[in-house]
């Protein structure tokens, strides 16, 4: 019944299912191709793009300055000290990596679950992943005291006959993150190959033809190729799924394996992963909502997507909330003074405000409002919400790293932590880097996978009798 009414009132709803439509009606192979490819192929670059890009560039430059100064002077220009020997660098690292997770999740896990609606957003979600990992990967490299020796973390034959120490979670990070970056890039590129083919065939410029031609590796849509291609994509998805889970698990080991109260927690892996997806989807929203508006993609990225992403955030946010809850519960239930004091200090210690900050941003605000579909499909609301959640997730890492460290076992060595301008500059700088990379992406690469959209069009269906015909 309800669906009937909806059809009358709401054009966005698919009368067949009563669900919001994944694609707006009236798309054809040609129109889809044109719509998506022409965003890239248009020779004229919009002023808005240029402005944004210069902002991004400025940010990236600031990052460069900050890092140069860092290399000249040493990590001492940051606020890190005794006992808080890790600070912004590690916080940002975990934060960015977390954001990356949504991309892989959308492109891999939702693919396995045959969630058709993912097709419209997985391309730029993956791009976001890669750029986020780039920003994240920067930090472990620059945060070490002697960055010019960072390559010692890799096992390679040397004249010292010494090797990395494989019991250290940091070393696990090296492998987890490098694998994650590689697989993400490969997955992304594989997805791009056929579309590069389309671009090759649509672009007028000789140069464009060469570049896209090479990138497409000579793709020509042979159905056998398509079959292998589909298998490979599925396999990659199947591999990326355990990978994405493992990456944040390993990162949570950086803390969970240590003996520090507040770090030494078995619940970290699951709630780190959930938190990662949480923040990741928030970031996808932050990007999708403006993109959709600017490039008039409402037809391809519909309210259905926004709505679903809202639901995912609701779910993951719930898991995160459960994680916080368990931490508090265990600090009481474990009857361990260390745990108890840690939790007390987290809540009411000198920088307890940061804990309440994260509770507000990650639980209080989102988990009370995201239940309502009306709000879930309200763009402005969702945009703001996505920002709030990412702030909250940053504070989660801040709380874990700093408030656990600054008051640990020996009261005599308690200290405090005050970020310096260099901390802020480096952090802000990575936004610039991320922004510029992302802008380059939407300018030169089709931001929505055309062949996957085409598959979803009604015209793509082969009338069944055709196959049986003649038997």
């Amino acid at each position: 019944m309800a669906t009937r009414d909806l059809t009358t009132v709401d054009p966005r709803v698919d009368p067949a299912t009563g669900e919001l439509r994944v694609l707006a009606p009236g798309q054809s192979f040609k129109s889809v191709t044109a719509k998506i490819a022409d965003i890239v192929l248009t020779p004229h670059t919009s002023l808005g793009w240029l402005m944004l890009f210069s902002i991004g560039g400025a940010g990236a430059t600031m990052l460069l300055v900050a890092v140069t100064w860092l290399f000249l002077k040493g990590v001492g220009i940051w606020a890190i000290t005794q006992p808080v020997a890790w600070g912004f660098a590690i916080i940002n690292f975990v934060w960015w990596i977390g954001i990356g997770h949504a991309g892989t999740l959308i492109s891999a896990i939702l693919l396995l679950f045959k969630q058709g609606w993912r097709n419209s957003i997985n391309r730029f979600a993956e791009a976001m992943t890669i750029f986020a990992v780039v920003c994240a990967g920067l930090f472990p490299l620059i945060h070490v005291g002697r960055p010019w020796l960072a390559y010692w973390l890799f096992p390679y034959p040397n004249t010292m006959n010494v090797w990395p120490q494989f019991r250290s979670p940091l070393l696990w990070d090296v492998f987890a993150v490098s694998t994650y970056a590689t697989i993400s890039v490969v997955f992304w590129y594989v997805g791009l190959v056929p579309d590069f083919g389309t671009m090759r065939d649509r672009t007028k410029s000789k140069f464009g033809q060469y570049i896209y031609g090479m990138l497409s590796l000579g793709w020509r849509g042979n159905v056998k190729h398509w079959m292998r291609y589909e298998t490979a994509s599925l396999l990659l998805a199947g591999l990326a799924t355990p990978l994405v889970l493992s990456v944040h698990t390993v990162i949570s080991f950086d803390f969970a394996v240590a003996i520090l109260p507040g770090w030494h927690t078995t619940i970290f892996p699951p709630y780190f992963v959930a938190g990662a997806v949480y923040s990741g989807f928030a970031m996808v929203l932050t990007l999708a909502i403006p993109l959709r508006k600017v490039y008039k993609l409402e037809g391809l990225v519909t309210d259905r997507h926004i709505d679903n992403m809202g639901k995912v955030m609701l779910a993951t946010g719930g898991i995160v909330a459960y994680g916080y809850g368990m931490e508090v519960f265990m600090s009481w239930y474990s009857a361990s003074h260390w745990e108890f004091f840690m939790m007390w200090n987290r809540m009411f210690g000198p920088i307890g405000w940061s804990y309440w900050m994260l509770i507000a941003c990650n639980i209080a605000i989102p988990l009370t409002t995201l239940w309502v579909r009306k709000w879930r499909t309200n763009l402005a609301f969702m945009f703001v919400m996505s920002l709030i959640v990412n702030t909250g997730m940053w504070f989660e890492r801040f709380v874990i790293v700093v408030t656990s460290l600054y008051r640990d076992f020996l009261p005599s060595s308690w200290g405090t932590y005050r970020a310096t301008k260099w901390d802020y500059m480096t952090y802000a700088g990575t936004f610039g880097l991320f922004l510029s990379l992302f802008l380059l992406f939407i300018r030169f690469v089709p931001m929505i996978p055309m062949h996957e959209i085409k598959m979803m069009l009604p015209a793509a269906k082969v009338k069944s009798e055709a196959v049986e015909a003649g038997d």
Partner: protein
């Protein structure tokens, strides 16, 4: 529309893929070689010294003892570079006008040091101690090579960590009787040139050398009638632990002078000396604090 790429491009594309692979590997191999190359290690290079001092001439030719110049090699971590005075001991009388020796005379006259260039130059964070090596049966030649054959001094070995570990992990293969430390021409024992060693039962507190005495010609020929088969092979209840009390070969009854064990391989001699000299086990010798502080 026509083709974008011509026929050859397929071949090219695949070739380039293969080439990239090869290049990466090649780069790795190069770097790996580079870090061990003389360009980095200075191995075998002869720097320009203020005086072209020839070890060959002084050691092989004139038969000077190593310690005559490197006085503190047995006592200190630092073997010692001879003061100008040491040179002048002789060169006040001979070659008094040789142009080659002008820097020496200048130094002697003005009291300014002769600025030699370090040939065996360890990184500053490596704490090497000559005295313990010399006292524990590592000969000069083992590290410095046949100095007596070097007209101009150069580093025989890389002196890189891997090279040090090579011996610290298996000291036996370079050990020799302390009496042979300064013998440049010392060769590991073999069937043709065996070595006979005897043990005066080593009591703790006496310097290493005194507990073992070795000879290179058969002691049984000159009088000592004891057959070496009566010998306990490689006497050694020794814990191999420096100074952990009872030394190998303790419970022997016969007078020391008569009890010679014959060694025909470096392996056997090495094991024997490891016991006698209480060489620390590899895990201790290759432990970081041994060289880095």
């Amino acid at each position: 529309m026509a083709q974008i790429f011509d026929r050859s491009s397929n071949a090219l594309a695949r070739m380039s893929l293969v080439l990239t692979g090869i290049l990466v590997i090649a780069l790795g191999v190069t770097l790996n070689e580079l870090q061990r190359s003389p360009w980095v290690t200075r191995q075998g290079q002869r720097p320009d010294q203020p005086v072209p001092f020839s070890h060959r001439h002084h050691v092989q030719g004139l038969g000077l003892q190593c310690q005559y110049c490197h006085t503190s090699v047995e006592k200190s971590s630092y073997a010692g570079i001879p003061p100008t005075k040491t040179c002048m001991n002789c060169h006040a009388q001979i070659w008094t006008n040789a142009d080659l020796l002008a820097p020496v005379r200048h130094s002697w006259a003005t009291g300014e040091s002769i600025p030699w260039i370090k040939v065996h130059d360890l990184p500053d964070y490596v704490y090497f101690n000559h005295s313990v090596h010399v006292n524990k049966g590592i000969g000069c030649a083992s590290c410095h090579g046949r100095v007596d054959l070097m007209p101009l001094m150069y580093a025989q070995n890389t002196l890189q960590m891997e090279w040090c570990l090579n011996c610290h992990r298996n000291p036996g293969k370079n050990l020799r009787p302390t009496s042979e430390i300064y013998n440049m021409a010392w060769k590991a024992p073999s069937e043709e040139k065996p070595v006979w060693c005897s043990v005066t039962d080593a009591k703790t507190g006496v310097p290493t050398a005194q507990s073992v005495s070795c000879v290179t010609d058969d002691p049984t020929r000159n009088g000592a009638t004891v057959a070496s088969l009566e010998m306990p092979t490689a006497p050694g209840a020794g814990t191999g632990q420096a100074g952990m009390g009872e030394a190998g070969g303790g419970g022997m009854v016969m007078p020391a002078s008569m009890m010679y064990t014959k060694f025909t391989s470096q392996k056997a001699l090495g094991d024997f000396l490891i016991d006698q000299y209480h060489i620390r086990p590899p895990n201790q010798l290759s432990s970081c604090e041994t060289c880095h502080r």
